[in-house]
């Protein structure tokens, strides 16, 4: 029996992941990992809502940063989307969205310090790049005829708003609402680098071993995201947007001398700053590349490969949870809750928690990436499976899974997995900040050592790899002729 192209690619990816598994470090180094895991669960069951005097403030700040960041990003993204036909705008957008929010935050922390503008820009900049791409696609899909029959001489802005934006409006709104949910996650995670959002309080509670507080924070976070569609209403959205900028807190004042120094001196490669010429610069770069970038790239790719395959396996195993071909109503509801919790927890937050429980190795990172991304793909594949109608005498159980469902869903599943490849890579790089030796680790170390020039070069390398994997995934999708409409689930 000849192997089909999808099978060959799948086997290749799995084999590669197994090889990576041999090369990686997956030890649990904590001396009693199951006890802390138990404590965490106990904390979730018996959360302590009184212990965080600032619980309300943490939630408020998380929401405020998300609203302002996503709002600014959406406005800038719309402006960029209107000139997206220019190649340099497309390249610029690909570049700014290839850099993770946390990297942007690290950059701005060094210049603006712990000022709210750091958090806002960290969300707004990469989101603007993503909004620009998706908005441009949505606008392109509109019917051009209403624009053609407009009277000649109608102003460009009027024509745009009446003939295109109005048609695309429902899609623009639903996509922006989806990104707002992503923005809440990004905002929460920014707390891990010092912004006053949930992540910050989570880190503090963990440091003190206050598991009931950790439980309370996590539950509040799930509640916040789970109830999003009830408290974010189109009618009151303007009110939120108007109020949010005033609820960011004051942070620390911006030292403008720092800002200037950062952008004109700190990030200039050291040999150039000292005027040692191009040869020294080349040597400096070579050293940085061999000693930090290469090991970082190696570990990042290794971890990404394992996480990709683990994500896929988990998604394939879990999608029946919400598929009507496998569950009844009550079971389906429970399945939905499981998947919602999985995909609502940011990878970074999960990895942080698991790292506290199991000690530093690649294991927490892989599990965190697989749980979050597997939850998302399982949700989408499950939803897709509900569109399939089976014949009345279709087999049950495992036979139904293996013969009726998976063969039909495998194409869309692979397409979704490849769409998430770039996202998994982005996250893998960033998890380095937690101490796993991916690119983020070297970026973070360089920043700790105040070597911002190195940090910038490493961030640029990370962005280039992201763009590279995106291109590779697109090629693979083309090669396997995979097409799937939901490539807009991007966080």
């Amino acid at each position: 029996m000849p192997l089909r192209a999808t099978t060959r690619v799948t086997l290749g990816l799995v084999l590669l992941a197994l090889v990576c598994l041999l090369l990686g470090d997956f030890e649990i180094s904590a001396h009693d990992p199951w006890r802390s895991l138990g404590q965490l669960f106990l904390g979730l069951i018996q959360p302590d809502f009184t212990s965080v005097d600032s619980l309300g403030e943490a939630l408020l700040r998380t929401v405020a940063f998300a609203f302002v960041g996503v709002g600014v990003g959406a406005l800038a993204g719309m402006a960029l989307a209107l000139c997206f036909h220019r190649w340099w705008v497309r390249t610029f957008c690909a570049f700014i969205r290839a850099i993770h929010e946390l990297f942007w935050a690290l950059i701005f922390l060094q210049s603006f310090g712990l000022h709210p503008v750091t958090g806002v820009l960290a969300i707004a900049i990469p989101y603007a790049g993503i909004f620009a791409k998706v908005y441009a696609e949505i606008l392109d899909e509109t019917d051009p005829l209403p624009g053609q029959v407009l009277p000649r001489g109608a102003g460009r802005l009027s024509a745009l708003v009446y003939a295109r934006v109005s048609q695309a409006w429902p899609h623009l709104v639903s996509y922006t609402a989806y990104r707002l949910e992503c923005g809440l996650r990004s905002s929460a995670v920014l707390g891990f680098v010092g912004m006053p959002t949930i992540g910050y309080h989570l880190m503090a509670a963990f440091a003190q071993g206050h598991y009931p507080t950790v439980g309370a924070l996590l539950l509040m976070f799930y509640l916040l995201i789970g109830t999003l569609r009830w408290w974010v209403r189109p009618k009151i959205l303007p009110l939120y947007l108007a109020a949010a900028p005033f609820l960011l807190g004051t942070g620390l004042p911006i030292m403008w001398s720092n800002v200037t120094r950062f952008f004109t001196e700190d990030i200039v490669p050291a040999p150039l700053r000292r005027g040692e010429g191009l040869e020294a610069l080349w040597e400096w770069f070579g050293q940085l590349f061999v000693q930090q970038a290469l090991p970082g790239i190696w570990n990042t790719l290794l971890l990404t490969q394992i996480a990709l395959v683990a994500t896929g396996a988990l998604a394939l195993a879990l999608f029946p949870l919400i598929s009507r071909h496998f569950t009844r109503r009550a079971g389906g509801m429970a399945g939905h809750v499981v998947l919602v919790v999985m995909r609502s927890t940011p990878e970074y937050m999960l990895a942080f928690i698991l790292l506290q429980l199991w000690g530093p190795s690649m294991l927490p990172a892989v599990v965190a990436l697989a749980l979050h991304n597997g939850g998302i793909i399982a949700h989408l594949v499950g939803r897709r499976s509900n569109e399939i109608t089976l014949r009345q005498d279709a087999p049950q159980g495992m036979n139904r899974y293996a013969f009726e469902m998976v063969p039909r869903l495998y194409g869309p599943f692979l397409a979704l997995l490849f769409y998430r490849w770039e996202i998994i890579l982005r996250e893998t790089a960033i998890l380095g900040i937690l101490g796993i030796a991916t690119l983020g680790f070297f970026v973070d170390s360089a920043i700790q050592e105040m070597r911002f020039d190195r940090a910038m070069v490493l961030i640029l390398i990370t962005a280039l790899i992201n763009i590279g994997v995106d291109v590779l995934a697109r090629r693979l999708r083309g090669y396997l002729r995979l097409r799937h409409g939901v490539d807009r689930q991007q966080c």
């Binding site: 005829l145 407009l150 102003g155 802005l157 009446y162 003939a163 109005s166």
Partner: protein, 217 residues
Amino acid sequence: MTRFTLTDAEAHYGATRVLGPLSLSVDEGEHVALIGKSGAGKSTLLSLMFDHWREQPVALMPQALGLVDTLSVFHNVYMGRLDRHRWWRNLATLARPWRRDIDEITALLEDVGIAEKRWTPCGELSGGQRQRVAAARVLYQQGDLLLADEPVSALDGPQASAVMAKLTGRYPRTVLAMHDLELALSFCTRIVGLKDGAIVLDAPSETLTAAALQDLY
């Protein structure tokens, strides 16, 4: 002097010529009906005219209508005059229309019998209702020439006549692609017959009968 003239105009689809070369001019007071089998080149001729004469005030009502489904009937009609107002006034109209515009557009919508739907999104209308909205849009737009492709194809007898009367009454010149020969003869002053991309008939309508035109089909 007539400004609406085509001289040896041609239309191509890829390398094949699908229309012309043909010459035609439309004088003031002329209402031209384009007739012919489907595929004879009526729509192609209309879009050719629209391209050639777009420097002048020409309104177009294509067969697919070009309505924005997410906007209300009022706003779709208002789009006919987007060029007469400043951008900020157009944007403000999206949120809250001016009383004057509402009155004027409502009157037009009453003429085509759809005023009660003025705040309904166009996506929720039936085919005939949509056609009336598009007709109201070009009536509101005004200009020196109207080009319309089957403007009343989805309307029943009396309504079709009423809309035809409005369209030909409100524009000094019209070119209408028609499949209903009776309507064409009663509202248009001149009949142009097309066959395989060429003009095979061009005569004042009072000299023609519906039966004589059957030869074209």
